[in-house]
Symmetry: C2
Subunit: 502 residues, 2 copies
Amino acid sequence: MSTVEHTIKLYNSLKGQKEEFKPLHPGYVGMYVCGPTVYSDVHLGNCRTFTSFDIIYRYLMHIGYKVRYVRNITDVGHLTDEGEDRMSKGARVAQLEPMEVAQKYTVGFHDMMRIFNTLPPSIEPRATGHIPEQIKMVQDIMERGYGYERNGSVYFNVRKFDQENPGVYGNLSGRVLDDLLAESREGLKSQGEKDNPVDFAIWMKARSGDIMVWESPWSVGFPGWHLECSAMSTKYLGQTFDIHGGGNDLKFPHHENEIAQNLGSCGCTPANYWLHANMLLLNGKKMSKSDGNTITPMELFTGESPFVTKGYSPMVVKFFMLMAHYRSTLDITDEALQAAEKGFRRLMETNSILQKMDPHTADFDGSESDTDRTILRLIDEAYAGMDDDFNTAIALATLNELGSYVHKLANQQLDHTEVAPWVLERLKTIFNAFIFDIFGLNDEADGGDDGTVDGLMQLILDIRAAARAQKDWGTSDKIRDGLAAVGIAVKDGKEGTNWTKG
Amino acid sequence: MSTVEHTIKLYNSLKGQKEEFKPLHPGYVGMYVCGPTVYSDVHLGNCRTFTSFDIIYRYLMHIGYKVRYVRNITDVGHLTDEGEDRMSKGARVAQLEPMEVAQKYTVGFHDMMRIFNTLPPSIEPRATGHIPEQIKMVQDIMERGYGYERNGSVYFNVRKFDQENPGVYGNLSGRVLDDLLAESREGLKSQGEKDNPVDFAIWMKARSGDIMVWESPWSVGFPGWHLECSAMSTKYLGQTFDIHGGGNDLKFPHHENEIAQNLGSCGCTPANYWLHANMLLLNGKKMSKSDGNTITPMELFTGESPFVTKGYSPMVVKFFMLMAHYRSTLDITDEALQAAEKGFRRLMETNSILQKMDPHTADFDGSESDTDRTILRLIDEAYAGMDDDFNTAIALATLNELGSYVHKLANQQLDHTEVAPWVLERLKTIFNAFIFDIFGLNDEADGGDDGTVDGLMQLILDIRAAARAQKDWGTSDKIRDGLAAVGIAVKDGKEGTNWTKG
């Protein structure tokens, strides 16, 4: 029933090794990714995580899977004192409403995801939209003996869970429960009303001042932070599903607690494969607001930051992210971004040249050349890179290698008869597929999609050609300078004149 | 405490007349608008409604109100058989998930609202995200004696409500309960398990096959359609708030039932002012899919419809909507759209000319001319139009009248000394405010916001000027034709050369 021919290997954090991906149901993938908490602007590190999983989503669909991709919005949290200006009290409309804060940052998050040209997930459930499901899960956990109530709050009994499910808690993050217990005995964690400091809340009784609260069998309160992902993944993907993803920093305690909650409520491990995207560094160091070692996406785009010499467009930043495997740390430096900018422009230019090439059918003798074989091998290698734990770095490097053949053809270093018409067609298809469908890049050279810039450039290049034919160097120079002023470079080659926006 | 100096009059459907708007809390406005049902693409009629309320939202903010604008997403409904291809059964991930349908059309709706350049509301609550609130409201209604249970479903007792609150039910829509009862006795409505055919469901027991269901004290089921708006407006705006809006078609039964539910649950009328946007017609007739008399927003943009001779851009369509008061029916015809296109281009061109004008301070004698007085009066009239039930038609017509002074100045039919520098500045400010802030139009002439088109046009116009100075008519003609090919017209005036994209 499956039409998927690729064998995917992925690094499963749960096993600490690469494994062959076997979906629960041939041809279908259920994937859950922990989404943003919407009471502040999305961080650049989050952008990397969501871009990485967007590419995984895109690739799985590209090779034929039907994917249900669920990414939540965490819109309940400690919002009491967050938000914009406080309005006067006394009237509901004049009080601060946490959902206004959630809406503001949800819209901002969606805008940023659009800027990075990521696809919306199949379902985007909100934590506040699933209170009954979370209450039900707390009840299930209590019925199975893993939850206890203290003064209206409910806690998950980690030690009991560990005794009855040995080796589970801490497995994903490489934590040892005894060490966690020892740590907490040393007073690093407050026990409060919990039986044990390692226990965690699954339902919190509201404190005075909490405004996002709901009724429950235990108290007016709100669900524990970890609970929403367990409840929503179960609701939309089932008790057991294929892939669970998120940032590395969520491994502990969030993902450990998720696994404990799911197992604790129904006896099932939620996901078979756990994927974690690695950290973004800035000049070799962890980003941190308090250290001042930080840059926002907008600062990166505008260049308004001491860490960059200029602004880098969203697609350049995305390309920069693609240059590393999602499981590697990625270090933002101005030099690396400059290299990414060149790399991105070059790739887009290469594709533009490639797509304009005509297959040379007239003088084609039907044979398969060494060049043909090399191109076909490289295409396989690009796919093999993605099949190997979605290694975009390898796929990109291979595309660049393929690109060198495009330039050789364009410069007539390589004779056109060396590339069979069908191989050229396949190369065109594969370039478009990787650049636009899989990587989700787009061509920023065109100011809009109505073709105005293309039309104006055609006119300008016509005038330029006429001026040069008449040796009117004044006009030709004026055009060169005018185009440079808007960041457009013109290149004359044997295939004609190309232009790129830099 | 309020900084709002305008006196707004609005047509209150509840009273059937225009009234002065008095917000519950000076300086603040709470506004609820019934949003889309997300299991199909948004209709053009809905686009008109949401655009109308966006302009009301924008205008209230423009004149100084702090507005909380709540617009819901109806994501629970009869989705059982809706959606895309059915996947194979047996596994959760492989079943049709109504929330995938809701997400698809929510994203599509947001995209369309962005195309029309409307602002996101302050809060955008989802019906499925407020099940506990809706269950609570059913309980409150039952406690106050207006709800009864039948086989796991709960119905609102309209007749009892009418007896105890005479004159309320039907008041908004001009319906008489006795007529409704007579109608239903004639067998036009099925009574089913209801005590009375006019009663409506506030909780529905799930039927076999329903998949969006929740537990409740009465049954596993789902809330009645009308309930969500009552529950969500109460949650985010309070039991009584300022403005409730929606399309005319929602007056009955939806808004009548909302009022009954709110009064029935807490004894409060929900909103003080009810505003209704009128219908969009197509060639004089109601749009209807079954009659074939219909056009989608995308068909209107692309021109792929037998009802239009060409495509009209989203801003032209929006401008067309602005040309009528939101309470008037608006008839889409190809001729009217062509007129709107000309009107929109002209307005944008006028503003472009105006914004480039320098105040003539050097030869200004300090006096106030007749022209000054006329301009100031017209500015007041534009605001007066908006203050009078948000009449965009009047505001637009007045802007056009003001525009004639801009053109007279540009053509030197009117001497610059006739307009005092501060009046010119005010005119500039007011034009930008109306066009961009209040109407939410944007300038489609520029292919993108990075200035590429502007930069290229500057270069082309420079070359053109040089060519004309050298009497190089060949180049000049080539430029004219090349620009025409991308829809750009160039106009030489005494103020310099202007260009517009048509």
